[in-house]
Subunit: 144 residues, 2 copies
DNA sequence: AAAATTTATTATGCGTGCATAATAAATCTT
DNA sequence: AAGATTTATTATGCACGCATAATAAATTTT
């Protein structure tokens, strides 16, 4: 029997809790967590190439496709042809999308602000550094 | 624009990466991440009351229901009536379930062992402590 | 004991990510 | 320019968590 909570499960619970909180906040103005994350990565002035979004979000392009479709249906974004590469597309925010982006930004900023206050910059920096180290170990498959 | 990666997104990416890794490992012997986690919480000798499982896993009982059903279909567990509380049920491992539990245990132990080696106990302990602090802040809704 | 309440479980639907396969459009070869 | 290849996007299905509502069974109240 594994007595104390393992680190992996701790990370799982932590992320699930944050996701739940973010979804609660987002649902107050008709959004979702995933949409909020995407909004934040779109440049409100000039837009962002669709190909750049997935890497920025650390996720697969295929996973993004559905979310972008929903965002288009909700009137948050529109697609503009990139004259330099006809396969890629520029994702741009609508006026409504810009407003929602601000809401998402507030939530994320507020949350991270609270973390800074409550945890303290020093410990939080160690936490972030260790997170990055684990991420590298996992992504480079240095475990199995 | 938020320049550096926010802590929440770091946690998201970290968990997604671990989940992916665990799913890869589990799929090698016909399992899944979620099933692995449940298996670990079931006492191989005397079984575990179904009501105790969700809290141990830090998840909702309703979320567990489907996974338990699949585990039953796969022949990993069976349910035994609890004579002391007819509403609750004792979840027990089959022989096959015990074997799979060992496999899951190996994966989790190995992963956490590597973390200890590579990160170092001291930094890892800070990481875990901060994780718990953030978890409390989020679960107590001390943010919004 | 019958009715009301509590508690455990299941059903259903949604959101979100992954993987694989299929499309579609551009680029490269010849 | 025609065909082959690469690259971006979408389609589909699975896993997994949540929420809400519906069931079912026990416990408590009367």
């Amino acid at each position: 029997m594994i007595k104390e909570k393992t680190t992996d499960q701790l990370i799982k619970e932590l992320w699930m809790a944050i996701a739940k909180l973010y979804n609660e906040e987002a649902s107050k103005y008709g959004g979702t967590m995933a949409i909020g994350y995407v909004l934040l990565k779109i440049d409100p002035q000039v837009g962002t190439p669709s190909t750049a979004l997935a890497p920025m979000l650390g996720m697969e392009a295929t996973s993004l496709s559905r979310t972008l479709k929903k965002m288009e249906e909700k009137g948050l974004i529109f697609r503009e042809k990139n004259p330099y590469d006809g396969r890629s597309v520029l994702i741009k925010l609508t006026e409504y999308g810009c407003q929602m982006r601000e809401k998402s930004k507030e939530v994320v900023l507020k949350f991270n602000e609270v973390l800074n206050e409550r945890i303290g910059e020093e410990k939080l920096e160690i936490f972030r550094s260790v997170s990055n180290d684990i991420l590298k170990i996992v992504n480079n498959r240095e475990v199995f």
